[in-house]
Symmetry: C2
Subunit: 448 residues, 2 copies
């Protein structure tokens, strides 16, 4: 992509309304633009990141056997009356009356819609297990939306809903999602830790929040330090085999958000040298809730013995748009964002230090072609801005690698390379520099 043909209205100054670094950087890097309180448009650079995040979430859901559907944003209140949630849900639900005076709502979640689909479509235990997910915009009418996409009103969520014949099957499905989430966040360059969450009246131990660690995280978390080095399931994990070992490894040591933190237990279970107190951001939540919705809504299948069975259900959420902010909270410096390769809007930034100079333009065009031919996503600053502004913009938008080309280097057959994360600059012969960058990008595409 050539910057001259792109739409990247970066801001030099930090907008006053942005309180946290991810919000500031997303506005400055022209990733998003507020359109109403807590409601954002995604500009081209931000949308590319959002789609990469969505793509990783999708691949890991598919790998774990979940099947993608797409449910509508607008739901009928009647469905929510069946589950009893319509009256119970507070002011965070955006309630709507249509032209025929029917009560509708903008879905904050979709248990009712998916249970109705299941109820009308699935008749036999032979069709189980089923785990249906969708990646769709949701709305929660927060009283005080803030922190940009971290706590917006309209947000993109991946929500999966599982249906199993027995509690044991439901536990196996839960474990599949557990393992899938570990992979999902690790692939984005994040360190995530599952932490036990409250199960309320449902009870049991099958509810975990996935918290990623970031210095500027929203809440305090407490954990055993070995969890920071625990192994993430590999790509060739058999998701349909027994995953209880993985879950056991990740849940046997202390890890708690401040909401359920128990200082006495922490001190008793974790040797002092192993105690870590850090800041965290919730990016996922998995929850087994049994027959709460299937029973209320009358979803049943015929069991192996001919008797009707009410299926066991769970739900599994990932905050897709929130992750764009969370990754920035976990990976930035004073100059801007530092994207891990798998979620970077482009993989390499190509900086022309003298646009209009025939030799420099030709050298850049050649590098662009070669990078593109190698399958690298290149963002080419071909504008006539001064060098300082170009460097600032490149650092701000945080592409993993920069290739810097000026008239002097063109003469000497050299190119400068900068790795955004470490900031190291290196001058290499052009061909060597090109190959170096291609190899570095390729090596970092798979983090797990």
């Amino acid at each position: 992509m050539h910057l001259s043909r792109y739409f990247l209205p970066v801001l030099r100054d930090t907008p006053k309304e942005a309180e946290i670094v991810s919000h500031q950087l997303m506005l400055r890097a022209a990733m998003i633009k507020q359109s109403a309180a807590g409601i954002y448009s995604w500009l081209p650079l931000g949308l590319r990141v959002l789609k990469k995040i969505e793509g990783i979430v999708r691949e890991e859901q598919n790998r774990a056997g979940a099947i993608e559907i797409l449910m509508p944003t607008i739901q009928s209140a009647d469905l929510w009356r069946e589950s009893g949630r319509y009256e119970a849900y507070g002011k965070e639900m955006l309630r709507i009356v249509d032209r025929h005076e029917r009560d509708m709502l903008f879905g904050p979640t979709a248990e009712e819609v998916v249970t109705a689909i299941f109820r009308d479509s699935v008749r036999s235990y032979k069709d189980l297990p089923k785990n249906l997910y969708n990646i769709q915009w949701k709305f929660r009418d927060e009283i005080r939306p803030r922190f940009g996409v971290m706590r917006g009103r309209e947000f993109l969520m991946k929500d999966a809903y599982s249906f199993d014949l027995t509690k044991d099957d439901a536990r196996a499905t839960y474990q599949r999602m557990f393992a899938a989430y570990l992979r999902t966040f690790a692939r984005m360059g994040l360190k995530s830790v599952p932490m036990k969450a409250d199960t309320g009246p449902i009870g049991g131990d099958l509810s975990h929040e996935f918290i990623i660690l970031a210095e500027t995280g929203e809440s305090e978390v407490f954990l055993h330090k070995d969890l920071l080095h625990e192994q993430v399931p590999a790509a060739d994990t058999d998701f349909f085999g027994d995953l209880s070992g993985i879950v056991e490894r990740w849940t046997s040591r202390y890890a708690a958000t401040d909401e359920i933190h128990d200082a006495a237990r922490f001190e008793k279970e974790v040797p002092e040298a192993d105690r870590v107190t850090a800041r965290g951001i919730e990016v996922g939540h998995i929850f087994y809730f049994g027959t709460k919705y299937s029973a209320a809504m009358g979803a049943k299948v015929q069991g192996p013995d001919g008797q009707l069975v009410t299926p066991e259900m769970g739900s599994y959420g990932v905050g897709v748009s929130r992750l764009a902010g969370a990754i920035i909270e976990a990976s930035h410096d004073a100059n801007g964002i530092i994207w891990p390769v798998p979620v970077a809007p482009f993989e390499v930034g190509l900086v022309n230090l003298r646009s209009g100079d025939a030799a420099t333009d030709a050298a850049c065009a050649d590098l662009y072609r070669k990078l593109a031919a190698a399958g690298i996503e290149v963002f080419y600053d071909d504008t006539d801005e001064r060098a300082g502004a170009k460097f600032s913009t490149m650092d701000l938008i945080g592409l993993p690698f920069q290739l810097i080309v000026g008239p002097k280097g063109v003469k000497s057959g050299e190119v400068e390379i900068k790795a955004r994360a470490g900031g190291e600059r290196e001058t290499l012969a052009t061909e060597a520099g090109l190959n170096h960058v291609i190899a570095a990008v390729q090596a970092q595409r798979s983090l797990v």
Copy 2:
């Protein structure tokens, strides 16, 4: 994909509420499921088609230089008050009041949102032209939603909005979208014809509806028969060169929807033998409207001479979810859907006539592996349904090619091939049959 692990609750009977064939077939083939009047969930098979359509639209928008963004579904009424449309828009607008008693709405279109983004971000003529598009869910509160996704309330639309410095530039942008639309629909296997549309108070000749021809189309259209054989712009068309020749070729002959049809002109301009009267479905609309929104909302850029200029705008819509229905209207038979390869949910259906028979299972597994290795999207019916039901389902869901494997063929080293469109069946040696299907799929992936 293995059917046993998929979610494909096909219906044997035609639901009574479905009046037109695409609606009937989308319900029967388990592509969609109604969740409220005019509001549908997309089940796995339907979502795959929707994503393929979306992908083609996106590629052609990008080729023509448009830049993708994503605007929110919920918009502020204040923006619509700036353009004067909030009060003017009728009951089709879904109006919403949020918890702070602010007037909001579910966007039926996004001229206001995009003009506000432009106004706040673009300062100089040097940044023009800009054409920003998004593919996002819209809502129109139809009084009587019907015909499934063809006239639903919640629908997926690609809407692009262009900003140009001069009327001439705006015309060039319009021509780029004109050519892009011709390619877009042709790539889906559709015959589209641009037909002049009413420009209302704006005037001029820069408004066209793109109508695809289908026997069961919603309205009558009249055209010169040569338009049915007119050439679609090739992939290597220079979209930034002069496209007026293409537009001229496609607009110089008579073509009109019944809304603006002029029988006298038709008879005068078109020799009797060349007159075609057919049924059509609107799938796209492009429209140049000048400074209507930019002037009302105060969007200005600094021109080359330092004076402020109000940019010229146009908008360009494609009914993405509607196209899923429109393609079926144009391509089906008594047994079900007939998908063109580029929009088929899967490219090949593999039918195991004796699931559980070791030799047949092994032969199918081998074919599945080889097809997947060749990059073919395979849908494998590995269930224990009887053969007749399997054939019906395969015909209903309309995959372009079927590979049929039974114990007899396994013994004789043969496989049966069926092309869904023509219905021809052929028995070939297994390896030859496999290669035949792979070649046929690859040949039909690019229709333009």
